[in-house]
Symmetry: C2
Subunit: 481 residues, 2 copies
């Protein structure tokens, strides 16, 4: 373990006490949000140079990032994150004597976060995992993504300035793969979060589980995000579906974990509509040379798969690629899942045809875990659509209808997760307010004198937070500012 | 994998659909509770013959078990378990278009539960893990504990009768270690829960993590549950503390995971009080021959540890043991944690003395994860007590004050868990209503037509459950019965 890593973790440990306070967390989250918004003009050009994702997209992403930070500040401010429960003497077992029990969700401890390459703001240094860890009161050791090192350092420096007065060790930046693995294995690190590839996520998850003291490791590893088009939807909206599909899988040059990588359509679906939808699409730049090489290999594998045909063969110029499209059948997909159902990160997708809706339903049942599954249907085939919803909800973190999976809304009702291999922790989400639940650890205080309790559990409710008292939800007092 | 196990798991898979319904879960939980209460007169004698825990204790434990089942039925009935969230078009990112998002916690899938030996009712076939899995909608494959096989079969048969009309595969019983490991590795099993030893829990956790598709594995593996006695408490209440301590560590013949295995007292603490408290205590029977042998080996190791003295040497008669007590110093405990800080399941505890309160605080900081930590203090040393609360809350699932850790109340404010090695999942509890959270998986439904949504998310709220709608908690309608 490097001495630098050890120092970074030690600073994170030191920051734990400062981040116990509600105000400190709120100030940190809102302060970083404000600072990011102010610095967008400086940061976006650096991000554009390093990632090529485009100024418009990157500017929007800064807005999403500061929105996420402020949303997390809100669930700290109202006390949701503490999930405070006070049972004075409610019905319990044993019947008597009844202890005074108070339970609050406290910080799990310092967290290591592995930044994603495809969201240089929203899932990077000041991104969703960092925001939810801070909301939980956890300092973050942030492993920067090698795709945008300068941006990572700039954002870390901005955070350091905000954190200096609040909790200096709230964020520490590490950059090498070795330090990343070292952090996962560091005895003072109590949880990990990751967004990236299946191979990378699984390797780190295995490290976390094999520790002398295992720690929870929340890896979001992507999926193929299948889209199911019913016969009635294809009959009524084939053109619209072809267009929406082309928009969705080429968005961000196909570099979203929710990219629809497989669309299942009736055999009658007109391939010309797909060709038209992709005609004259300009290409985009992939994030890194490594991603470009992996993408080129994936395309090659797809084009050589029995029963698959490259309907549109995209062109390459360095890191720039125009979209590609593969045509196949559902039967071939089931026969060659190693290529046709494997995530190929970049602007390509597979259109697979089925003959009968039975095939469609059987396929839904056989799917492995997905971040999302999408259904296009019409009232005429509501029964089929209902059966698809039933079969897909055990398979995916989110089931969408007559839309596209890209574009993950940040709300309290969002679930961005799913069964393995979409994630390593199917009960959790990395987007939305529930993301904070990954980083808390509930503690019950039994008969502790009021003055010695943490503030969320003191009888007078000094932080004015929402609590569940004797089974009833007690909303916080509304205080005029 | 045995064909019988495969069949048991297949029945569990079949039961998933039936357990989707709120009514089915409530009927199952309340039905089993009623049946257990009715059958107590038949079951307790069998339990007594197999475990020797005593008729009074076992009768009380049936009451706890049916209480747990009914409490879980209540959190299903009011809809808490679904954690339903509906965002029609609330503030979100991206700003527009705003999708209709609805999120509910659904069953994670079939669960394997490893029964505990020390709670033949409350943490066995119809125990807390089974109740919380059912509340979440998960069928259970139950690995019986070898310490009470006949009782396990009787309870399983009672459950089968209740479940026959509701969800026939809601419980399947397996008995061999091989089937237990097979269930953890079975592709259709989606989570596991365990109560028992560190070695056993860790081995199963490792299996669960090493699967091709890893699953969450919630092992509760016990701890030494240290008790800290401050100088003022010792000065004022030494006699009461000695008595309470003797009661607590000998309760159930020392076979509780919350047994205080180490009490830290000032050097001045009068050892005669401990001798008096233990004088003429009758012994008790340990649960199994295996536990008795492990206990005898543990006692032997304790008595041979440098710096430790066997103040009271208990006697043995077959499986029957009278209590033993070890005297030591905090310095010796730190030097020989392999014996003095290792859980010794049975009626023994270690009393370790400190010279200065600095030692006490340093020890609190060095502790590994515990289910509980307890403080005995007085107003005179409130500052010391406050510092102990601060240092112990990151180490234990529950911090108790001027009481004893045995006796775990079953309420919404209970946390029975803790950092490793107390458990493998520090964010979860195995006692109290929050235990259900281990077995759910949230799913978001985006723009799904109302009729195709699962009932907890339909606009009309057909199950009349509590939900969070556009950020505001909407309590269920009160319906007169």
């Amino acid at each position: 373990m490097s001495a630098a890593l050890d120092q970074t973790v030690a600073s994170a440990v030191d920051a734990l006490a400062s981040l116990e306070a509600l105000d400190a967390r709120v100030d940190l989250l809102r302060g970083v949000a404000d600072t990011l918004d102010e610095a967008a003009g400086t940061l976006v050009p650096v991000a554009e140079r390093e990632t090529g994702l485009g100024v418009a997209r990157l500017t929007g992403e800064v807005g999403r990032t500061s929105f996420q930070l402020r949303l997390m500040a809100d669930v700290v401010a109202d006390g949701t994150v503490f999930d405070a429960r006070i049972d004075h003497a409610c019905a319990t077992w044993p019947p008597a004597p009844r202890p005074d029990l108070r339970r609050a969700s406290l910080a799990i401890g310092p967290v290591v976060v592995f930044a994603a390459g495809n969201f240089p703001f929203a899932f990077s240094v000041a991104g969703g995992d960092t925001a939810s860890a801070w909301a939980a009161g956890c300092p973050v050791v942030l492993k920067a993504h090698p795709g945008h090192p300068e941006l990572s350092r700039l954002v870390a420096e901005l955070i350091r300035r905000v954190a200096a007065e609040i909790a200096p060790g709230a964020l520490g930046l590490i950059e090498s793969e070795e330090d990343g693995r070292g952090a996962v294995c560091h005895p003072e690190i109590r949880a990990g979060a990751f967004t990236g590839s299946l191979a990378g996520g699984r390797a780190l998850f295995d490290l976390a589980c094999a520790r002398a003291e295992p720690i929870p490791f929340f890896a979001e590893m992507g999926s193929i995000n299948p889209v199911f088009v019913t016969p009635a939807a294809a009959a009524r909206r084939a053109n619209e579906i072809a267009g929406g599909f082309a928009d969705s899988f080429t968005l961000g040059c196909g570099q979203f974990c929710t990219k629809p990588g497989l669309v299942v359509v009736p055999e009658s679906f007109d391939r010309q509509l797909l060709l038209d939808a992709l005609a004259n699409r300009s290409g985009g730049r992939l994030l890194t040379a490594g991603i470009a090489e992996a993408y080129a290999r994936g395309l090659e594998a797809l084009s050589r798969t029995d029963g698959a045909e490259l309907l549109v063969a995209g062109t390459r110029d360095g890191l720039e690629f125009t979209p590609s499209l593969v045509l196949s059948s559902l039967a071939a997909v089931l026969e060659h899942p190693e290529s046709l159902m494997s995530e190929c990160f970049g602007p390509v997708s597979v259109v697979a045809s089925y003959r009968q809706t039975d095939e469609l339903l059987a396929f839904a049942t056989q799917l492995e875990g997905q971040l999302t599954a999408t259904i296009h249907a019409e009232e005429d085939d509501a029964e089929l659509a209902g059966e698809l919803v039933r079969r897909l909800s055990p398979k995916a973190g989110r089931v969408a209808f007559n839309g596209w999976p890209t574009g993950v809304a940040v709300t309290s009702a969002m679930q961005h997760g799913g069964p393995y291999p979409a994630t390593t922790a199917p009960g959790t989400t990395s987007v939305g307010t529930a993301a904070v639940e990954r980083f808390v650890r509930p503690v019950t205080f039994q008969d502790i004198p009021d003055a010695l309790l943490p503030p969320p559990l003191q009888e007078s409710n000094p932080w004015n937070i929402v609590r569940r008292v004797d089974g009833k939800l007690a909303e916080a007092k509304v205080v005029s500012a």
